[in-house]
């Protein structure tokens, strides 16, 4: 099976796909607010520390697992240790749940790119988004399917599944070769326009003015690690899957540094663009930045439409560029999230790629429709909260603790990464993964649990939180354990492809 495994055509192709996976909606709508809210310019200290002690080490770990064991996350972890397979399936189940609602947010952005022409949200973007566009109902009530969401959702899934049907080189790599340069170009235009607006300096000052006292606040460090962790697509199967298609001589550590710093570079660019635009809105409205600074959906679908409406000149074009950027960033991430479970199901059930794409991808698209209803945003809000806190963070913590402390595979994976990489891993890598990352992720998970039990999320009914929050997060774990009990195909090697001695033994010159 390994001999026939697809591979990235070039190193650049892999890097663009890895960066495309990491650069998503969170870079644009989460990082700027997190940085501003956690010490402004001073936030860069814990942020860079987190990048070097958690982000890049975890990227190297997952690249090494995927590259060494050459399979989807469940198969690679099964080959790493027979009792680690369930972690891979848990990750895959988390990916399925995320893909089902992530596509809907991309669909909203696509809808808003269309609405930008003529600023169709009118005078009150908040009312337009929640009432006219989404037709929000009470939590627990589905409401009808919203055609304005369903149509772009069909487009998003059509495009994503078409790319995935093409495979690694002709589908994912080729798509990212277009998506990522285009995203960068569009975002550069957005940033250049934003920094030339009246009041942009006010926003930039708010973002970069350092509050050095925040460095002593533990919650700021947790926020920095959380941003790095959620933004880099680590801890939930994607990077293991993508690295499994690298050629035998793929430079793992070098790729991890480039991907990690590329993601951080885009986040910084997004911070500058977003806060320059927020400064413009605050200045024109004669209010403080803190009155308009928001993150997530509020930033993208309420604040940015307000900014676009007030822009001098061709404001519709700016809206198309902004929401188009969200679509591009989102689709490149959605492709990577969906690929994790398509690859896993292909291997476990010996499916042809197109069958797996049709069944798994098509199945997710159908589940997505439940979020394209009047009650969809309530469901999405709760599922996203619980899957991030008790899915992504928890499975990432379990993965690191199991590999570093229970099965003690860090030395073998370090040897493998060093064997194929130009840059050598030092003790910082072992300390980062053996101590720093488990401590911070453990702290985050315990703190999330404490918060959830003392102050239940939002104003949602407890039953709503129990079923769609706790229930789905627990279901991902149960599905993971259940899937690991199913048998692998008889012909599939469950030991290491190439034998135990292939650590970097087959380097080739002229690596792609």
């Amino acid at each position: 099976m390994d001999a026939a495994r697809e591979q990235w055509g070039t190193r650049l192709g892999f890097l663009l796909a890895a960066v495309g996976s990491a650069v998503g909606l969170g870079n644009i709508w989460r990082f700027p607010y997190v940085a501003w809210d956690n010490g402004g310019g001073a936030f860069f200290v814990p942020y860079l520390f987190a990048l070097l002690t958690a982000g890049i080490p975890l990227l190297v770990l997952e690249y090494a697992i995927g590259h060494r064991f050459r399979g989807s996350a469940p198969l690679s972890l099964r080959r790493l240790h027979p009792r680690a397979e369930w972690i891979g399936w848990w990750q895959v189940a988390v990916c399925f749940l995320i893909a089902s609602y992530y596509a809907v947010v991309i669909a909203w952005a696509a809808g808003y790119a269309w609405f930008s022409v003529g600023t169709r949200w009118g005078e009150d973007p908040e009312a337009f988004f929640f009432e006219s566009y989404l037709g929000v109902t009470e939590p627990g009530s589905l409401g009808g399917v919203r055609l304005g969401v369903l149509l772009p959702l069909a487009l998003v899934w059509g495009l994503t599944l078409a790319v995935l049907s093409g495979g690694i080189r002709r589908g994912i790599e080729r798509a990212n070769r277009v998506l990522i340069p285009l995203l960068l170009l569009m975002f550069l235009v957005i940033v250049l326009r934003a920094v030339t607006l009246e009041g942009s300096a006010v926003g930039l000052e708010a973002l970069f003015e350092p509050d050095w006292s925040s460095i002593g606040d533990a919650s700021v460090w947790v926020a920095a690690y959380g941003q790095i962790f959620f933004s880099l697509s680590i801890g939930f199967a994607i990077m293991i899957t993508y690295a499994s298609y690298l050629p035998r001589d793929g430079d793992l550590t070098g790729n991890a540094f480039i991907a990690g710093f590329s993601n951080a570079s885009f986040e910084l660019l997004a911070g500058i663009g977003v806060f320059a635009a927020i400064g413009f809105l605050a200045t024109t409205g004669g209010i403080g930045v803190d009155e308009v600074a928001r993150d997530g959906i509020g930033l993208a679908f309420v604040i940015f439409p307000e900014i676009i409406s007030q822009l001098p000149g061709p404001s519709g074009l700016y809206g198309v560029l902004f929401f188009g950027s969200l679509v591009l960033a989102g689709i490149s991430s959605l492709i990577s999230i969906t690929q994790t479970y398509i690859a896993a199901l292909q291997e476990k059930f010996e499916l042809r790629r197109r069958t797996a794409v049709g069944v798994a991808g098509g199945g997710t698209a159908l589940v997505s429709v439940s979020y394209a209803t009047g009650g969809g945003i309530n469901t999405l809000d709760v599922v996203d909260r619980f899957i991030n806190n008790f899915g992504v963070a928890a499975v990432g913590l379990v993965e690191v603790v199991v590999i570093a402390w229970l099965i003690r595979e860090l030395p073998r994976l370090r040897t493998h990464a060093d064997g194929v990489s130009d840059l050598r891993l030092g003790m910082w890598w072992v300390i980062s993964l053996g101590a720093v990352t488990p401590l911070v992720l453990g702290w985050m998970t315990i703190d999330n649990l404490r918060t959830e039990f003392t102050e239940p999320y939002g104003d949602y009914p407890l039953m709503f939180l129990a079923v769609l929050g706790w229930g789905l997060a627990a279901l991902a774990l149960v599905v993971g354990i259940a899937m690991s009990r199913a048998r692998w195909p008889d012909g599939l090697a469950l030991d290491v492809p190439g034998g135990p001695s292939d650590h970097g033994s087959n380097r080739r010159e002229g690596r792609p």
């Binding site: 860079l48 930039l204 003015e209 070098g254 910084l268 130009d422 840059l423």
Partner: protein, 38 residues
Amino acid sequence: MSTAAVITMLIGMSAIWGGLAVSITLVVRRSRRRARQP
């Protein structure tokens, strides 16, 4: 913008974008050097 904000902005940009530039340069230089080796 205040001086402190300008300085942290420049340091932040240098650290992150500089980190990316250094990573790419190191990786490209080393792989070229290795490709030249017989």
